[in-house]
Amino acid sequence: MTSIAIPRPAYAERPWILDWLMTVDHKKLGILYLYTTMFFFAVGGILALLVRTQLAVADNTFVNNDAYNQIFTMHASAMLFLFIIPVWAGFGNYIVPLQIGAADMAFPRINALSFWLIPPAGLLMFSGFLFGGAADAGWTAYSPLARGSGVGLDLWIISVIILGVSSTIGAANFMVTMFRMRAPGMTMFRMPIFCWTMLVTAVLQLLATPVLASALAMLYIDRNFGGSFFDPNGGGNAILWQNIFWFYSHPAVYIMILPGMGIISEVLPVFARKPLFGYKAFVFATMGIGGLGFSVWAHHMFTTGAVLKPWFGFMTFMIGVPTGVKMFNWLGTLWRGSITFEAPMLFALGFLSMFLIGGINGTFSAAVPVDFAIHDTYFVVAHIHYVLFGGAVFAVFAGLYYWFPKIWGRRLDERLARIHFALQFIGFNLAFFPMHLLGLDGMPRRIATYSESSGWETLNLISTIGAFLIGVAMIPFIINVVMAFLRPKDQPNDPWEANTLEWWTTSPPPVHNFDSLPEVHSERPLWDLRHGKTAH
């Protein structure tokens, strides 16, 4: 490839630190997103370890009840609002413009705004610890609990609204980018699957997040101006909060998992050396999940008795169908592939197996009678961790190992990666599988401690050991990243023999992304080039 001399723009002469603070380059913003969200992942993880330490033995007094409420609330809030949702924006920022052959996002400055709203919102949320206690009503902030809680909850409300703004304007940015900035030949149905999942995620964010903002505004008015939205004494309705909250937060679980599914769908074909099985079926399944995602929110509320149970139960079973379609997409891709087990593939297969469990135990809960039995028990905690840790977090690591050579131009060590994977996989199952049994045995979620006579101690101790093993698993990962940064940038354009356009340019890419682009005839232009195909 011949290189073209491009005059260095004025901003390239800024000092290093200002360049990072003032950048509007989607790649730098993507990296900032990744650093920031991994930081909050660490913070959320430490809070999780505090929770597990408290629950390790019966009648524990490691932390008191008030502190415990704050810790588990902030664990969930950090992991959901400050880690998983924005980490996809980070991957999306870096990867989507590259995959569609664009020079940047559609609105680079709005992109910078989306990112820079996150660190202050995170600080605001955690600043509650300095002002008499952080939010302590759970990440779901149900009324009447949330109406009576301390000032930390007000800070939490404002923080989540700011994060919602970040996510909403980011969503509009992703949508316009994918609608309007695709390279010549890159039709909508030639976009890589990761782009498709980011697009459907963006639609969900654009339409659902403002509804959460309206609920948060109502809660703020109730708490600070004497409003009655969620107060039956004033004619309000406590269930209203749950309806509006879950109208956002159920689509939000797809916001948290769809881009992870997209990453898996990039990784599996590359390491099975086959194209993705059933590309269009996968795209329509993703749209199906997005659409049905708006019709199932009240399955979180069966036990309120105030929702139409048959409808929401049925729709929840229905949303299992497109998810099942994706399972067969992935299995069909692996079928008779020339599979190798590099780090991204290990984590992708980890996702596949663990998300399957999370999908199945979630579908159990869609059955109304079963839900009545396991509602608000540790079974539900097991479910959400199998989809959000077994699913989303494994996908985050699959993406990090997969795109690390592209983003940083450096190699990660495979042996350390395997140790990381093994520890995380074992630790994860030790930590969360026992929660199924605890839940079936009736252990309620969010209790600060339990008595010895409950018989829950052994399983809780196993779970705590597993949680600390997950913590230990991060050590080889961190060592791996630090050692990689000490190595030279020596990675070729396409170290994995991958299929999509980001691997066409250098590692890392130049500021303008591409000096040239190959002809695009399918969703896997680099595969086509390798196999001498020029038309579909």
């Binding site: 609105f107 316009v176 900035m181 309206s214 004497g226 939205f229 309000g236």
Partner: protein, 203 residues
Amino acid sequence: MASHAVATQHKQGLSNGMLGFILFLASEVMFFGGLFAAYFIARADAREWPPEYLLTPEQVASGVKLEVEFWLPFIATILLVLSSVTIQFAVFSIQRGNRSGLIRWTFVSIVLGLVFLVMQVYDYSQLHFGVGDTIYGTTFYTMTGFHGLHVAGGVIFMGIILARSLAGQFTAANHEAVEACSFYWHFVDVVWIALFTTLYIIP
């Protein structure tokens, strides 16, 4: 960007900016959708509306009355609808390259928007209930309040358009911000029509 080999913007149809702006308006619709949902659920829960039966004896003794004034908001509604027409005239003017028409009609729209805000504040001061007086007061002030903030935002938006056109910007070919501003203002107007119908007309 111009020197770049990769096309970055399709030239036909909506521009990227307008598409992004319309998506932003879609998110705004969902925000007000949440507020309307809360209002209708409150109405469905209430035995009668306005829910006088929820007032405590202390509230009644202190003169709380759950009723709204009709004619002042009705006049304000007419003015706001009128301002939607005038901002559209501003767009038509600049589409023909008539910048002085743009300036004149934008100015009129700003004045109408400001008058609406003044009337809303005056209306608030005349009411005998507050945000804390049952779900009636809470929904009324929350919905009209958020709408009022959007009117204020729209007035600022139109102010920027006015300042830019006074500075000699915008031509028949290049006036995207004016169109975006008119979209926003129409959106604010439509929300108000929905609010006025719901809060003042439906008994």
